[in-house]
Symmetry: D2
Subunit: 318 residues, 4 copies
């Protein structure tokens, strides 16, 4: 993007993600009973779930598979016209995707693989959630009654994928889809180790961090938001009481400044409970370059990152 | 806007507000010592202030005047081109504004009065804050060290103005500037009593509520954000310890679901400490119509609104 | 107590309360599903409940009755010897009580009416809760897994009864049982309106406030604690979502400085969700006398007290 | 203590601690500007400080010395009579202490060394803090206006000393002074590694953990309390902004369940910011024995303990 170009607002938000799991029943139980989501429907070997604050019908598709990983990630455009423009931009760049008819919760979508190997889709038509009588909130600006079960996550927030070549991966997302680079990490004498991108006012909707293995298409983690840091602390107790392994946190991220907690769902996918994060309002935000860990710390308050955080991803490699 | 039109993202954010005060010194002391802002500079009979999390040089201009009120409110566009487009749209609608050279913190701006009588300006060129050595944060993605003084507000959040004819006032802002109507309140057999509008992902950047008097151009309140509801509770103690009158709160709004606390600064302007509020990601958000107080409550948990909240505004009428 | 007397530590804590309700099934559902307690057993027309952080087997007995109110309140002594000493002190003062065999959760108790007409009992032998396998916490210093259901109250905290003659009522409790007067409210030219008493380090275990009617023995409210103010805010949403009427709060008390939220359970008894409150460590604490509302406010931040808070109590008078 | 003995309530609370520092000026600046305490007076080469919620005149004495460490720790008895009884009990056990005339904030005290080598004193007469006009709180039950400076700690909470023989150290404190053993840690095939003791309703006023070196009398840490976990999180930002090294936390303790954050003050003494912790009301509390780290975790949510936490203490050994 040249300096005189205007910022592009063509994608509206992270719409949904499909997670693959080799232990479908246990994963489903985790997302409902521990993470606190609601099951919308099961069909075709998949479960469709939603968090209580999601306005769309479903934001998580859970699919039985031989191994864990990311089925695909879906981004909603701001309009049907923007969908066509983004497909044209993708194809102009040589992407070979395909139109699919849609799925539970959304209409036709253009599906393609990014340079880092994850399947993405973009779409506009969406089914909004309509709460049944017993689930209506006392607040008409909320899609359904809030939930207190388990970690009680409130809405889909962001996704973190791995890439061997982070500059290439992020430039692709920025140039074809209008993501904005907000922060990146370039350790001294090393290639770029992480990039945090967003669409409008969030610190990140998408993180791309370094793939340590000779592979592509892997998922680092999927995150849902809760409203306050206290909710993250409360989630830590919930996970401990219910036997879910905590890998990392609760603590404060240096990048995004969000408050985090990472666990593994039974299928092996890393899942985050996230709160806060700064907001970005400047249309000419200068990407923050973290040049060393020393400058900015791995985490804001100095907590060390466990080794697994740099190596574990799904699919788990043999 | 017809149904097939695309959403417009032309304004980026609330940039700054100018408050008038008949007791300049006391107001300045309030904003620094009690509200927790930093003084950037004083010049021309005005003080320019910033909150620690504001990325722009200044977001509040405080000007000595014979009475309290709103000097003007400034909105930043997403680009120079968007600034030109918005001026063209305003003038096409018959607005007669004027270009001004700029002010501390921003460049040339187009200044005009909205139908409800408040002076607004739109601009693009902005001076970013550069922290001096002793004020740099340990986090390079934060404009300066966080502050603990007083209520320690972190960034400008939204403004609430009064209008006699709310539908006309909000349609003007939506059609010429790209605000989106998120929620409005239409009590039974009464005219519209309030409208909440935003630009991108917030529940509101601008609220327009009913002017009870036969006048125009008044301010209901200006709000800065803190990060958590606990910070709002902490601010309540700060205000009580420092002798600032609390008018309303802390409690939870029904509209926006933000957590609020209202005080009067010494000049008489109503000032809010605000946290949270839901996020809006859907590009086709359907405005929520609150048809009765009974449906949605004045405040989320049922706390009554004090009478002054419906009558006090600045300038105070004789 | 003369000035040279030593402070008396003879009662250990509020042990349990029995609430009467004319709508037993609805009240039981409230305490389990909305307030978040666990049902321990039902027998003899009563339900015995516990909060997840209560170390005793049961802290709430819910009994079907023709009208709401307080069945009795039970205080645990620090030892069997202290039980005997307190009974001797009560009888020396002319109290005519009776020994009862005990109840679910505790052994023999001495039951008597206080001057303000509430039935109290003191006892020492207690049955501790032993979590069944599926309910054991991951933390061995916690009696059972924490609960996320409803308001998820964690432990019994305090009780507030009404008395026509507050000085007489509180002096009785102090002199016979070792309560300490921590704060009291004496509005100008009026009789004492409230007294807050505690046993060891809490700001209050027992509050006695003014009975507005020509009656005795009434309950103002029973309170369970949650751990943080955020939990009180979260409870407000829970009550609204589940249709429980909020009478007052969330806000901060001036007396005790606790953070409060009051609702009515379906039987009509007022129930509080409480967090915080200052601690009292000084053995020679000087009671704080609040002489006017102006000095100290009805609530810490100025929120008005609803009229019902001064008039509603159980049994509701015809 | 045999089973039929009554619990002893003879000490009221942790009264104060004296810390030694080789960098007096820097340490004093830390406690005032970073930790958020107020300086009461300087005299005799020592500074006397208080936290805003301390009811006593001073709770921290900071003394210039050639090396860091604990000068002494002071415990207040519940009465003058209890002071005499405890001195008699100490002397009956063979302790050779001495009466001292008192110090700023308290009267005559009996000073002695515990078996683990720390100097302790017990006393009754205390000077209460009287806020000057400008420091009076709006709440008459609070000793002074709350403070927002730095970590803004609110009151002294507990102290942790080291001992080579923990069972001997804790039994001495229990039998002579009436401390109660609440929890202890006995790793498999190892000697007792830690003991947590309290006086009345707190989970701990005193912790005794294992001295790794062949020495006596060392301090592990001194802790002041803040009101909420959010205050601990806020303190972490304060420490980072002001350049104070964070050793450990914020996280949740397994023992006591408090929420913690440890830093080193410039003199090298470890200082904690602490919130929460469960309450103990049962007069017959059964000490919780943590037999393995696996059973209960080093910290509640699994965060590893840094090696320095087991080795660093003051005086630092050559």
């Amino acid at each position: 993007m040249s300096e005189t170009a205007e910022p592009m607002y063509e994608l509206a938000h992270l719409g949904h993600a499909e997670l693959l799991t080799p232990v479908y029943e246990q994963s489903l139980e985790f997302f409902v009973e521990v993470y606190g989501m609601d099951l919308v429907q099961e069909s075709g070997g998949s479960a469709y779930l939603r968090a209580w604050g999601d306005h769309d019908l479903t934001t998580l598709k859970l699919t039985a598979s031989d191994r864990a990983g990311l089925g695909h990630v879906g981004w909603r455009t701001i309009s049907p016209q923007a969908l066509d423009r983004r497909v044209a931009a993708l194809e102009a760049r040589g992407v070979t995707g395909e139109w699919i008819d849609g799925d539970v919760g959304h209409g036709k979508a253009y599906s393609f693989r990014t340079p880092s190997g994850q399947r993405n889709e973009i779409y506009y038509e969406t089914e909004k959630y309509q709460a049944a009588q017993g689930k209506k909130s006392y607040l008409p600006n909320q899609p359904q009654s809030s939930v207190t079960r388990g970690a009680a996550v409130s809405r889909i927030d962001h996704i973190n994928v791995l890439a061997r070549d982070i500059p290439a991966a992020r430039e692709f997302m920025c140039q074809t889809l209008g993501f904005k680079l907000r922060e990146h990490l370039i350790p001294p004498d090393q290639p770029e180790a992480g990039a945090w991108l967003s669409l409008m006012n969030k610190a990140h909707d998408l993180a791309i961090t370094r793939e340590p293995a000779d592979t592509t298409g892997r998922l680092h983690h999927l995150a849902y938001a809760v409203e306050n840091r206290e909710d993250v602390l409360r989630a830590a107790d919930v996970f401990c009481e219910l036997g879910t392994f905590i890998e990392f946190g609760p603590a404060k991220h240096s990048r995004t400044q969000g408050f985090f907690l990472y666990v593994y769902e039974p299928g092996g996918n890393r899942i985050e409970v996230f709160a806060g994060g700064f907001h970005i309002f400047a249309p000419d935000w200068e990407p923050v370059t973290w040049t060393t860990e020393g400058q900015g710390r791995s985490t804001a308050w100095g907590l060390d990152v466990p080794a697994s955080f740099h190596t574990h991803a799904t699919p788990v490699l043999p």
